[in-house]
Amino acid sequence: MLLIPCPWCGPRDEPEFKFAAEPALRPTSDVSDAVWADYLYLRTNEKGFHREVWSHAGGCGQFFLLERDTLTHTIHRALKPGEPS
């Protein structure tokens, strides 16, 4: 039961949040099928430090970037979209 720091609402319990995605730059429409498939389906699935997009679906509804260690669940920081990382 992670304690996740929403950048606006502060630390709240995990059930208030929804994992959204790994951050990925949306390719332009002229990429090959293979590149597009990677974007749709492949995940880096890092062991350790991981960046991921969550939404505070059971709260303010905002989307933000979370830096979380997938092994220890240590949460480093949460960043608003556009905040320099």
Binding site: W8, C9, G10, R12, D13, P15, E16, A57, G58, G59, C60, G61, Q62
Partner: protein
């Protein structure tokens, strides 16, 4: 012209140290393009998102405004036991509802807006979920008796 009168839910639930009552505090508007401090209440405007508030009372004069008065049922919880009821429904701490503050959170399985109000707590629940929430609150009040 037909008189299409309103149908509103009105009810009161009591338990030792707690009263839950429906209230009609005024008109309600969703307004975007307005920024106030997160999770605060400023002149009737309740923070919902970085650029959106739920305005109670008068509609903001400009910007994208939607009248959602009929979209909510508002409940006021008063009495010293309201933090206990909150602790049954939510992981939110009562300190998050200090005077002048509000919070959107999961309450009894519903995502809704809670607000500090006159030493107690106010719930804004969307109208379709109000009947179910009142069933839950009735059961919760029974458990406190």
């Amino acid at each position: 012209m037909a008189d299409l009168a309103r149908t509103d839910l009105t009810t009161t639930i009591t338990a030792p140290g707690l009263t839950i009552a429906t209230t009609t505090p005024g008109r309600l508007f969703l307004a975007s393009g307005i920024t106030i401090a997160p999770n605060t209440i400023d002149a009737g405007r309740h923070w919902l998102a970085p650029d959106r508030v739920l305005a109670l009372g008068e509609p903001p004069p400009a910007g994208f405004v939607s009248d959602v008065t009929d979209g909510f049922v508002v409940l006021d919880l008063t009495g010293p036991a309201w933090p206990t009821l909150l602790s049954m429904a939510s992981t939110l701490s009562p300190t998050a509802l200090a005077e002048g503050h509000c919070a959107q959170t999961v309450f009894a399985g519903l995502t809704l807006l809670l607000a500090a109000h006159q030493g107690g707590m106010r719930i804004f629940v969307e109208r379709p979920l109000a009947a179910w929430l009142l069933d839950w609150l009735t059961q919760a009040a029974t458990s406190l008796a």
